[in-house]
Amino acid sequence: MEARPEYDRRQLLKAAVATGGVAALSACLDVTDEPVPTGVDDPETLPERQHAWNDRVRSDEHGNVALPRHQSLLYLTLDGDGPPTDADREVVRDALRTLDRAYERSNEGLIYSIAYSPSYFERFEASLPDGIDLPSPRRLSPFEEPEFDTQDALLHLASDRADVILAAEAALRGDRDEVNGVTLDAPLTDAMPVADRRSGFVGPGMPADRQDVAGIPDGDPVPEAAPLFMGFEAGFRGNQATEDYVTIESGRFAGGTTKHVSRLRQRLEDWYGEQDFEQRVAELFSPAHAEAGLVEGVGENLGSDSGLTPEMIEKVREHASEFGRVGHAQKAARANRDEDGNVRLLRRHVESTDGDVAALHFPSLQRGISAFEDVRKAMNGTDLTDEPAIRQRVNNGILEYIFTTHRGNFLVPPRRLRVLPRPRPA
């Protein structure tokens, strides 16, 4: 049989981050030997905002940010019940500094952030300042019963290189003591064991390559050009909050942000089987998009925004009665603008095939968690179900096809407070 090195390489890399672990890393390193750009000598020179990724990753010709293709979410938990110790802090500080020195903070190296949950802050006697909007995760629709992620911390790793994600993880877990030429004294997991690991990917070709999983019907329906399983582009510049906007402006955590991360299982049998292209456009964007043919292919014609106009947002109720359907973007946008028309959420969702199940990991950044909750409630469209065609989940955007399995809330502190912060830092 003829050797197919390129095919084999693609197959191997496609599963590597989802599989994770040392074996995946060594397999990965067998086929990748390009050097990875190294980091800074002095981590203090890095920017204060851990969530400032946009000018360190790729953008397309329209200025839409292209998130790193491979991502990993490590949910970390401290041992015991009390606050962290100085020894814990030393381990975490050294581990993060090692990553900063090992990898350029970019899509070609490694870009990451660490965030802390309300459960973490409950370890302390003091509570967070009043201005920090960080409730415990809760149910956000009348039909979901998600598991709540109450682990202490979330370390979010992102890179265009699968081997970088895997090597960084191996070092953090103590499976290797060196990462991109930099020695790590003690693994992160000495202080914070990994309670859960979730992997993600995003970018044209990647979903099409990975569509042989539960939730995607047979027949390879996901277009090659689509960055996401649902077959369309998302995260247009014009429909995203800026990093400035989501940044906590004042107080002890100034320079930080809040992060809601949900996991949504995707069941796209009916999305691709029962709905035609126009119906998919109507349900994802708005019926007006479908009627006017505003979306071509995966939406590559849309440029730097989704084409959603204030009129379409306002007319959601008319659309409900005229078309018997409302669009996901159209509904959610009702709560995703402030008084001045600024977008409130910065969404950084990626796809997942963990456990061979199609899912979305949905991190969203905003100044306070209630902004996310408002948008999710608007997306539920419960107020539109008095129009009988709009049901709790049917004809109601994309609710029919997504099933929320997890929700977690986190505070992403500024870099100066990223190591196991106290709720009232000095």
Partner: protein, 357 residues
């Protein structure tokens, strides 16, 4: 006691009620084609199937029954568009969930339902399932599921969403939390093949197969006219039977004034017709009120109904009296429920009708 017996028998309830409806043929699972010349009305389908009960579970405020039958074709309704969902070769089974109030036994037609199937913790399937209307099964939620293997055991989680209809009377404040009922289910094709399957000579005639007796599981038959509070009156339009009554406003209704509850149900079987858009106007002594869209509601006394408060007597004219008022009823949106065979052509183009209150 009855429920326990019912569960213990494994309850292949079949379709005993259908005896006499048609001739019993072989238990072929070759489903006959959709009948030619279906009337634009409720009709007797060309065949009828029984079902097997998996079980009944109580979860939160809900009782949930899970049953199954052969994969079915059915029709979904969006506005006035009807789309057929055909069975596919990969389909293993048609799963049906019926949800009712654990306290009163009243069926809840407007909960959202999703069904998740797992095996040893691994996901096999998960779907948002449709609210459905079937002649033998009544008001339920269902869908075809693929990927089950003969003889295998599965865990089936029926996820019930909060009810979308307004809750009045003793139901005010209830049914606003989701809950999940979990069932063990063995998919056994031989057992499924034993589910009764009859072709019907009367197929295509106007009429309906009678509700199948399902023991403790309600089919969603609306309360009889005499069982509704107030002086209930009735009218008919197309295949919809309306029963209307005027009562004091139940709890959960903030407006004052008499409360009109309109209960549309199917001709023949009297099943609740849910998820319609209905508007009414009231005429009395030569004056007519503006048209008003009714609100879908659920109430332990009034059942599932469409309601609004009426202007107080006298507000419309000095001598207006309730007895002389005429209610005009218009279907703005046909019932947005998926239809099993025999219902898919009904309840569209319903003429406006009147009844005297």
């Amino acid at each position: 006691m009855f429920r326990r017996e019912f569960l213990a028998t494994g309850s292949a309830l079949g379709i005993a009620a259908l005896a006499g409806c048609g001739s019993l043929e072989s238990r072929a699972i070759d489903i006959p084609p959709v009948l030619d010349n279906r009337p634009d009305a409720i009709y007797v389908p060309g065949h009828v199937e029984g079902m097997n009960m998996v079980g009944i579970e109580t979860t939160g405020e809900y009782d949930v029954a899970l049953s199954y039958s052969y994969p079915h074709r059915f029709w979904t309704v969006t506005g006035t568009d009807v789309e057929r969902t055909s069975t596919e070769e990969a389909d293993s089974v048609h799963l049906m969930a019926t949800v009712w109030d654990a306290e009163t036994g009243m069926i809840l037609p407007e909960v959202g339902v999703a069904i998740e199937i797992t095996q040893d913790g691994s996901l096999v399937s998960e779907e948002t399932v449709y609210a459905m209307l079937s002649q033998p099964m009544g008001v339920h939620h269902g869908a075809n599921f693929a990927g089950l293997e003969d003889g295998e055991n599965y865990e089936v989680a029926v996820r019930v969403g909060a009810t979308a209809s307004r809750r009045t009377g003793a139901f005010a404040g209830r049914f606003d939390e989701p809950a999940t009922a979990t069932f063990e289910f063995t998919f056994d094709q031989e057992t499924m093949r034993e589910i009764r399957f009859d072709r019907l000579d009367r197929g295509g005639e106007r009429g309906a197969i009678e509700p199948m007796p399902m023991g403790a599981v309600p089919t969603g038959v609306a309360p009889a006219t005499d069982d509704l509070p107030g002086k209930a009156v009735k009218a008919m339009a197309g295949d919809i039977r309306y029963v209307a009554t005027v009562v004091d406003p139940p709890a959960g209704i903030e407006d004052e004034g008499p409360y009109l509850a309109l209960s549309p149900r199917t001709r023949y079987n009297g099943y609740y017709l849910s998820r319609m858009g209905v508007s009414v106007s009231l005429e009395g002594n030569g004056e007519s009120s503006t048209e008003e869209t009714l609100t879908r509601a659920i109430d332990p006394e009034l059942g599932y109904h469409y309601g609004t408060t009426l202007p107080r007597e006298g507000e419309q004219g000095e001598t207006a009296s309730r007895e002389r008022e005429v209610l005009s009823i218009t279907v703005e949106t046909p019932p947005q429920v998926a239809r099993h065979e025999g219902y898919e052509t009904a309840f569209f183009d319903v003429p406006t009708t009147t009844l005297s209150l």
